[in-house]
Amino acid sequence: MEHKPFAITLDVGSSRANHTGSWRSERPVYADHLPPCNAACPAGEDIQGWLYFAEEGRYREAFDSLTVNNPMPAVMGRVCYHPCETACNRGKLDSAVGINAVERFLGDEAIRQNWRFAKPSTQTGKRVLIVGAGPSGLSAAYHLARRGHAVTIRDAGPMPGGMMRFGIPKYRLPRDVLDAEIARILDLGVTMELNTKVDDIKAAMQGFDAAFLAIGAQLAKRAYVPAGEGARILDAVSVLRSMEGAEAPKLGRRVVVYGGGNTAIDVARTARRLGAEEALIVYRRTRDRMPAHDFEVEEAVDEGVMLKWLSTIKHMEDGKITVERMQLDDKGFPQPTGTLETLEADSLILALGQDVDLGLIKDVPGLVSERGGIDVDPGMMTKLPGLFAGGDAVPAERTVTVAMGHGKKAAANIDAWLRGQIFEQPAKHTEAAFEKLNTWYYTDAPHQVRAKLDAARRVDGFAEVVQGLDADTALFEARRCLSCGNCFECDNCYGVCPDNAIIKLGAGNRYRIDTDFCKGCGLCAAECPCGAIDMVPEQI
């Protein structure tokens, strides 16, 4: 410097001596907000977490990440009603990310590649009995086994899977997929005792340190329908269960299904596949009030299932059903009108919901909930210490996904209980609201619709209706994820800082704020596409 003219000529970059960080009144902080998909997932999946890997085509890591919470992605990718997609912020932009489809792709890929779960390094020596090999039972078994506990599942049925096998038709869930995912759980060392009905839970718990009741809701609700000679009245649970037996049920040419839930849809579509020329769903209220999901109703209609709204069944006799027209009152309840009509029908299938068979706890007082089913505390434990319950057997929404979540939650609590502790749910991060996103940075990219089998071909048999994504479309779909509330290393903060005060830490390591120079302008937070930066007041 000595040889250069004084003061007017300066050495480059010397302003680094001027620490402009002292100007700051707010500082940017990288936050991990809870994405709405994760918040909405009854199974507690870290959806965005596994999509992060899937976006890069790192499917094995995506699978490993996914199965931290849910051991059955191929099943879930088919039967879940995906509340995650309903919650997805991208839905406000174009259409929700097809999370369910990507999950199925990962599940199918895992089956194709025969990916297995890592076994626990040590065993605790504790023994846990699980009653019921349905989704909550299998889920609990998986989570307990991975924590090193010895798990035995007992199920009254001849095959594991519970309602996944005996309630969900094959065309929605092919059995080889179900079998493969169950086998992978059992491969962790879980003992499966089939055709073993537990009649007395206290007796059964002998020799076990804890037990989990995952007995489901197997008893079909019956409505009293006056019936004359030759009236053939069945319940949906039995019809669907008998589909797994050697002989298909005989339903006749014209089938009427009574009810408005997903089971009514399933059974009507099953009837079509068994050769019924007419399958008619009769429901008391209107379509918008049907509990069944829209997409299932649409698929059913595509397949020729008919629907009759605002009608109750008054009477059935040989080949004929009498229905009464209803109308909705001010509160939306159906009220009779007195107008009657007659339908031709060979059989009537009642799909009016299910009850829990509480026989095995009849000798233990105080376990039954006023709301029906088994009463549990927030940690999924019944009044009987060491006895936990979940799935359809406890009062909650009855879906496979909720059951999976119950299994996971129960396993966490059982694990804590076995160690003499109380499971503490980690505090939830604040939710990543749509308003926090800077959506300008996202390209419009339409949802990849999963191909469906032609309606005409569907009713010929029980082939799977909805097809999976291939590697390209799955990658595409995964990349539609906005990564709400969580940094995905887009470099925006690094780029938009007028003060070069963001330090890049390298792939996978995100960024750091250089507080020597950050003036606290907030541009990084404002221009973060996914709202992963918060501005917090500086402590002065």
């Binding site: 001027n18 780029g495 907030g522 404002a526 596409p529």
Partner: protein, 333 residues
Amino acid sequence: MGYTPVKFYQTGTHTIGNRLLPADARTVQSDDDRANALSCGHRACQGCGEALGARYAVDAAMRAVGGDLVAANATGCLEVFSTPYPETSWQIPWIHSLFGNAPAIATGLAAAMKAKGKATRVIAQGGDGGTTDIGFGCLSGMFERNDDVLYICYDNEAYMNTGVQRSSATPPAARTATTPALGAAPGNVFGQGKDVPRIALAHEIPYVATATVANLRDLEAKVTHAMSLHGARYIHVLVPCPLGWGTASHDTIKIARLAVETGLFPVFEGGNGDVTGVLKIRAKRPVEEYLKPQKRFAHLFKDATGAATIARLQAIADRNIARYGLIDPAAEV
């Protein structure tokens, strides 16, 4: 030239980097080895659009020419906040001479390089005052001679360094220290406008472009293309000024984006007299959305006179949209 949108990635088209993109599809700014031509420790205000725009542009130019670059700088905010003795923020050979002569200084630099047989490239930069007003004669001369200089104007639409006085780039109705929001026609006059990018184009120089700090990829593509050419080139970059415009420091990029999305600031490029490409508006916005967050336009939202003025500004935006074809119904950007 423009850039090729990288479609279908969760963000690939518009973000600065993104780990899902191959390295060559990322911006210069995403590179951890970027030049940082304007280093930290500079004294620009919080959220300064000019500091950002200058680093964007000069880093891109540095990448384009492999670092063999010198720069001339007009007097103004950029000069003052970057080089107060004893510290400079520049990491490249850089000279400040006067307010109105940056284009001529650059001409001299380029002439010297040519005479000395050096391949070193030359850029000049200045604010809107230094470019569209006091330096306009030198700029036009540099264009007319087709000197081998890329001139970059960082337009923040007034004399910010001296305390927000009106320049010939100040938009109609804007309040500045010399066009107060008083009287029957508050704010700046509705003049005939002084559209320097179009004037540059009329010089038939090889390359003219406009850009903003809201679209880095577009800006970098333009600077890179400009540096691939020789002769006089001009890039006019809109750089919002939180202080002068009365906006929040974190809104600098958002405001620039709205200037584009309303049509008030057409982003285009051309050369040899013709416009050859425009950046389409992705989602058209009414001018109110752009005006409302800016205190310099606050008086427009007080009464019916203001509403009429807003309508006139909307007409300007609509004229830009029609003139440049900024909205393409078939386009899917």
